[in-house]
Structure formats: structure tokens, C-alpha cells
Symmetry: C2
């Protein structure tokens, strides 16, 4: 329920094997407050009751036990309805929420819809294992803010051989957005480039990379199941756990020349 097995190519010490790997589940669930759509939460879809109630507590919408008058969960479709006494609504609290799935049916299609305007990537890019591990090393080597503070994520736009742009930020998403912004400002083609990334490859990160039309992401960390699924649809090669002498390839291994 909170993870899934998928087939990957594992590269280690010069050898390459096809085997199963366990990836974390990531799904969008939509929260309705008194029948009004309030928020879409991207989460591991387990303990949804705790998640919904805790989210409302954290937002200051729920504070006393008697305020919670009902809760209904549809796990399969990722829908949660919470009833709170006193006609509470998001608007009552002056809040607006990220939510793009209004009227779109199943919220699990949230990302698929968000991704639907993105052209599937075709690219002549190829990478060797040496290049992959070298770019991962360069990313780590350049992460000065992380070394100083332990609190930064790094993203780099790279050719097969070297880092072109490099940003660190307290937020994973921001580091990638800064790359996107620099590419836009400099009008840099991305179809022959690679994104090297310190953080986890979630669906939101994958969509950003695909929207940039970058054909491959090399991460030092883990991917999610939803990101791998979207990468398959959008034509992105996902390489994760690229550290030392090893990495895993989750999608489009044909771009890697072993």
C-alpha cells in the first residue's frame, strides 16, 4: 500500500542486472471541507484519516474535538470529505489552496492532467555509466551550501560531460525552478542536456524536468512510483541512487550505453 515493486536496471561496479526494486508510493488525494474542495495533498496514500485531520489542525481550521462532526474516505479514488461544525470553509480562514483538479474527476489524474500539455520527449542524447557517475560527483562537489549547512538541495543542468548551471536552495522545487528560469532567460536548448539533482524524484520534479524537455534526470536519491510512471509517459530517463560506483535506471535505459 505504501510501496510498489518495479523492474529496474541496476548498475554496480561495471556490471548491469535487471531486477526488482521497491519504490515509495506517491498519490494525490483531494480534501473536501464541508463539501467544498479545499486542497490536493500529494502523499503516501496511507493513514488518510490522520493526514486529513492533521492538515486541518495544522491550518488552524480544527482545534477542538467537538468541531469534527464527520469524515468519509474513498481510498481507491483518493477522496476525503471532512465535516466541521459551524460552516467552516477555507475562505473563512482567508486561505486559498493549490488545487488544480476541480471538475476533472478522479484526483489521481491530477498530475496526469497537469502533464497532459507536455510534449513527449524525443532526444538523441546518450550517456555512459562513467558520465552518469561523474555528473553525480560534480553535483556533490559543487554543493557548498549543503556542506556548510546540511540543509540545501542542489540542481544542475549538465551536458554529458559537465555542469552548465548550478543552484542550491532550501527547497527541492526551487532549485529546479531556478534552473528552468536561467534556461528561459538565456534561451538555452535543453533537449541534449541532463538534469543532475540531489533530491528525490517526485512527480512534481519529474513534471518540471519534462516541461523543460530535458530527456534525463540523474538523482543521488530515490524516485517515487508516480514519477516513474510519468517519466514513462513523457519520455524521460530516470536514473536514481547515483552514488559511488552504482545507480539504478527506471525508465528508457536505451539512452545509456553500457
Amino acid at each position: 500500500m505504501n510501496s510498489r515493486e518495479i523492474e529496474v536496471l541496476k548498475f554496480e561496479d561495471g556490471r548491469c542486472n535487471r531486477m526488482n526494486d521497491v519504490v515509495i508510493r506517491e498519490a494525490a488525494v483531494t480534501l473536501f471541507l464541508n463539501d467544498e474542495e479545499l486542497a490536493t495533498l500529494v502523499c503516501t496514500p496511507q493513514n488518510l484519516k490522520e493526514l486529513a485531520v492533521g492538515f486541518l489542525c495544522a491550518e488552524g481550521i480544527l482545534s477542538k474535538p467537538e468541531q469534527l462532526t464527520g469524515i468519509k474516505i474513498n481510498e481507491e479514488d483518493g477522496l476525503i470529505w471532512v465535516e466541521v461544525a459551524g460552516n467552516a470553509s477555507g475562505a473563512t480562514f482567508g486561505k486559498r489552496y493549490i488545487t488544480t483538479c476541480c471538475g476533472r474527476g478522479r484526483p489521481s489524474f491530477y498530475f496526469v492532467n497537469d502533464a497532459s500539455g507536455i510534449e513527449k520527449i524525443t532526444s538523441e542524447l546518450t550517456l555512459t555509466p562513467r558520465q552518469i557517475l561523474n555528473l553525480s560527483d560534480q553535483l556533490e562537489g559543487g554543493s557548498k551550501l549543503f556542506r556548510a549547512t546540511g540543509g540545501a538541495h542542489a540542481a544542475a543542468l549538465c551536458s554529458g560531460e559537465e555542469v552548465i548551471y548550478f543552484y542550491e536552495d532550501v527547497g527541492r522545487h526551487n532549485a529546479v525552478d531556478k534552473i528552468f528560469g536561467r534556461c528561459f532567460l538565456d534561451n538555452v536548448p535543453r533537449n541534449d542536456k541532463v538534469m543532475a539533482f540531489s533530491g528525490r524524484v517526485s512527480a512534481e520534479i519529474l513534471i518540471k524536468v519534462a516541461r523543460m524537455q530535458i530527456p534525463a534526470i540523474i538523482s543521488r536519491s530515490a524516485p517515487t512510483d508516480l514519477a516513474v510512471e510519468l517519466a514513462g509517459q513523457l519520455g524521460v530517463t530516470v536514473v536514481s541512487f547515483a552514488r559511488g560506483n552504482r545507480f539504478n535506471v527506471y525508465t528508457y535505459p536505451e539512452r545509456i550505453k553500457f
Copy 2:
């Protein structure tokens, strides 16, 4: 600009020293699109031009160079105005954004405002270094989803001695929200408890912990400067980098009995 030195208590191998530590900067910046407030981005406040443009690209609002007609940045107050051709607005794209600082003046007060309804925590809780490192070990030991996938964050509500509730999720915030929800549903007092956490202590995490009225957070990772500042105001002891035989104390060290 992207980090700050603050004084901390460093505990290592039974010894305790006061010294300076470098923490990453975290700030809220508000993005206006064609003079309409669009989003508040919580980030390391550097390369704000790239961030703003990249955010708009990632959201599908900007795609061609000629669409960007102007950009103005007030770094000190964390304000960015972007002009995009064709009367683009967030609403055009069917998007609504998290943004709670409308009409509140300086957006850097976003979190301070968000935190303003939270009562400053007073608690009799004390912790020994042994307890701190033991809870950090218990958190790591319980993180089965992380061990299986490499992609999960863990949060645990603890007494001084043991884990009471434990959740893992692909999102840091969700893991903490699930704890909050469970506490609400079970009506559990939190004033004598501790939060053990695998991830970074950002301002948003700190505010959740303070809203729960938990007097201390023990993290295996780094804090941000804004989280440390808010912890000082809200009465939360922040312990970070709690691994092996060491940890740092950023606020309210009087709760720790060395």
C-alpha cells in the same frame, strides 16, 4: 546571503561546547504577476529572478521569451513583480495558489503572522543527551519504508523514553500532519512530549510543532534560520543533527540536562 552564523550548543561524545554554526537561510518571497499577487514561495533568497521566471515556466504561464516583458525585484522585502504579455494571470490558468499574506504588508512576515495565533509553549519537559540520541535511534530503527525505498520521511511523537506514534510519508509535512491528526483524534496531551523527525526543520515544520504545543523537536537533519528564529519566539527547543553520539541545540537548551 544564503546562510547565517548562529550560536549553538554542540554535544559530542559526552562533551558540550558553545560555538558558532552555519544555518541555511529560508525566507518567504511574494510573486506578483501583472500586479496581481500570485504566490508566496518559501526559498533561499538568492537568484530570485531565476526563481520567479522558472516558477512561471514550470506552471505553464511563461513559455516563449517574448512573453516576459518586465521583472522587478525588491530583495530586502522579498517582493517580485513579473510582467507577462497578454494580461496573463493565475486565474487564466485555472490555478489558485497558497498565499496567505494578502494585505498584510511585508511578506517576510508571512510566517510570523501565521504563527501569531500560536501560544508560546511553557513546559516542564526535560531531556538528557542519552534520551535524545536514543529517540533519534528509535526513529531510524522504525523507518522501514525508508529502508525499503530510500524515499520516505519519518515523524514520531515520543515521551522522553519511547515512541508513541510513528508515521512515514513521501512528504515531510504529511508525516508531521499525520502525527497531528492522530493526536487530535485520540485527544493526546502534547505538552510533555517530543517530536522526533527525520527531515529538515523548516519554518513550516516548526510552526506545525508549535501549534501542536510540543516543546521540543529532535531532528536527524538540519534546521533553517527562520525555523530557529520562530522556535525562539514560540518556545520550542530545536535539536538537530541528532545522530550517533552528537547533536546541536539551537534554542532553549535549558530543557536539556547535561
